[in-house]
């Protein structure tokens, strides 16, 4: 079977991408697999200037999942372009840069810098980070703000496809999906983490200094699958599904409800070569199920 996927401009050799923030800058995983085998590498969210992130502790394990409030610690876009990107196999595997900014202006500055970089395959805009005080989530929860940001990003992105990453912390995901589509988004990815919290009854303190964190991992898969399904029914642009994917069956579930590609997040923590193994195993699983082409399988869920 032909494993390639074309996400409206972003071309992948297979539908398996990494999820931002769970795969570092890609290089961390070089000892564990061949990066060129991945569909795409999505790097840790970058901001214009380096960020320190939130104070420790920032992560805690939960039933079938984890909470994180890293707070977008990153080396800044400049250092990334200088020190990391050249070492990534961007000629064979698209490198997607995940963006974070606190204002529409910062978003457009970031975009301008990146749009002229040959090695950048696409931009993924994080309008959905629950772990920072400024920016992030408010864009993802307020359709009007989201429209403005995406619209402006598109103006500066040049030929780079713009992926908009949605927050699940909304009453109706369809509304925001429709909005960012109409604002010109080329692709939608979802879901980002779900807001959550953990506390320690012994110390009587939150387990994460930031108090709130984002929930990810297998626990959230049912929620992610529903939202991806709803968005796929709502928009015409390609959708990248993620949230709790940990095996090839999960991957196919997201494609069955309409996703064109998927991202692997927390699962990369269960084994650093997870995403590489999934690429191999997916071929076997697809064969086993007799799937003939992505076009035939994608969105073929039968109701009633």
């Amino acid at each position: 079977m032909d494993f390639r996927v074309d996400l409206g401009g972003l071309k992948l050799t297979n539908p398996i991408m990494t999820a931002s923030g769970t795969f570092g800058y890609g290089l961390e995983f070089k000892p564990y697999g061949n990066l060129e085998e991945l569909g795409a590498i999505v790097v840790k969210g970058l901001s214009l200037r380096p960020r320190q992130g939130n104070p420790m502790p920032r992560i805690v394990e939960t039933p079938c999942g984890m909470l994180n409030a890293i707070g977008l610690q990153n080396i800044g876009v400049e250092k990334f372009l200088l020190e990391k990107l050249p070492l990534l196999p961007w000629k064979t595997t698209p490198v997607v840069v995940n963006l974070y900014a606190q204002s529409a202006e910062e978003f457009s500055d970031l975009t301008r810098v990146l749009s002229s970089e040959e090695g950048v395959g696409a931009l993924e805009v994080n309008i959905s980070c629950p772990n920072v005080k400024e920016g992030g989530l408010q864009f993802g929860q307020d359709p009007q703000a989201a429209f403005k940001v995406v619209n402006m990003l598109k103006k500066h992105a040049g030929s780079k496809p713009v992926i908009v990453k949605l927050s699940p912390n909304v009453a109706d995901i369809k509304v925001i999906a429709k909005t960012v589509e109409s604002a010109g988004a080329d692709i939608i990815s979802l879901i980002n983490t779900i807001g959550g919290m953990a506390v320690d009854i012994h110390t009587r303190k939150p387990c994460i200094t930031n108090v709130f964190g984002g929930l990810s991992g297998p626990a959230i898969k049912p929620v992610a699958l529903k939202m991806v399904y709803e968005v796929c029914k709502t928009v015409k642009i390609p959708v990248i599904g993620l949230g709790g994917i940990s095996n090839t069956q999960d991957i196919l579930e997201f494609i069955l409800v309409g996703a064109s590609a998927v991202q692997i997040g927390t699962a990369s923590f269960t084994r650093p070569d997870k995403v590489f193994t999934l690429v191999k195993d997916l071929r076997v699983k697809v064969e086993e199920l007799g799937i003939k082409s992505w076009d035939e399988f994608r969105g073929s869920l039968r109701l009633g």
Partner: protein, 261 residues
């Protein structure tokens, strides 16, 4: 961190459990696994996740490499929570995903004197270190512990190194131990390197004394970790340069004057 060891041999493998033995109680276990293909430096650690864990717990667990021989990789583990409890119940033949060797490890010269300060499970990385040391006579070890000494792999440390163990059962014991710690550090500060591993309260005390006496000391931190490869940024420690660095890759062994505990 100038101390980073380039290690291109990191690998993720499924290794089989050979045996699990209990040390004193069921809360202290030695896990022997089929040997991995890589070599290591004492102070380095592995991420450990049994295949049977499926969805829950999600995270692997980090453990110092206690010892590695041609026959086995050995870890020394205390049962403190759910993950370690499950690990202590593993059976011979079960598969465990292991990646490593991770972190930098201790740097020391065989021909120099070294003071090792180990607190509780902090003894784990020093077992291999002492047993493979070319000149055990250069090693001085002070071991503070709560459980009976027989729970720990203390007796198997080389005969010809100098070692001392102190048990802390009460506040008084603890105060006394702190005094001995301080004295040892003061005495040793000018003689060579100090290596320490143990609970954070233990490390904090050591750090204080080491700064006071300007000792060349290295501390092995035990932050919570999710990925072990530097990707999640969950395990960072704040350095005196006000940077957050991943303890899993850049360290866990820190120079005592470079990190906030």
């Amino acid at each position: 961190m100038n101390h980073k060891i380039e290690n291109k041999k990191q690998r993720c493998q499924s290794l089989k459990v050979q045996t699990i033995t209990y040390s004193g109680t069921r809360d202290f276990v030695h896990v022997y696994l089929d040997p991995p293909i890589w070599d290591y430096v004492p102070g380095q650690f592995v991420m450990f996740r049994p295949g049977s864990w499926s969805n829950d717990p999600v995270w692997p667990r980090p453990f110092s490499i206690c010892e590695k021989t041609d026959d086995a990789l050995r870890l020394f583990i205390q049962v403190v929570g759910r993950g370690t409890k499950l690990i202590s119940c593993l059976r011979p033949g079960e598969d465990v995903d292991i990646w490593g060797p991770l972190g930098n490890g201790f740097s020391l010269k065989n021909d120099e004197s070294v003071l090792i300060l180990a607190g509780g499970m902090g003894i784990a990385p020093f077992v291999g270190l002492c047993k493979t040391h070319k000149n055990p006579g250069n090693i001085n070890l002070l071991f503070g512990h709560r459980a009976p000494l027989s729970s720990y792999p203390y007796d198997e440390l080389p005969e010809n190194m100098s070692k001392e163990a102190m048990q802390q059962k009460s506040m008084e014991d603890l105060n006394e131990f702190q005094l001995v710690l301080k004295q040892k550090i003061q005495d040793f500060a000018s003689k060579g390197r100090i290596l320490a591993c143990g609970p954070s309260s233990f490390l904090r005390a050591i750090q204080k004394y080491c700064l006071e006496y300007k000792a060349d000391a290295w501390l092995s931190l035990e932050n919570k970790m999710a990925c072990g490869v530097g990707a999640c940024l969950g395990c960072v420690a704040r350095t005196t340069d006000d940077e957050y660095v991943q303890t899993c890759t850049c360290v866990p062994v820190f120079s005592a004057d470079k990190v906030f505990l």
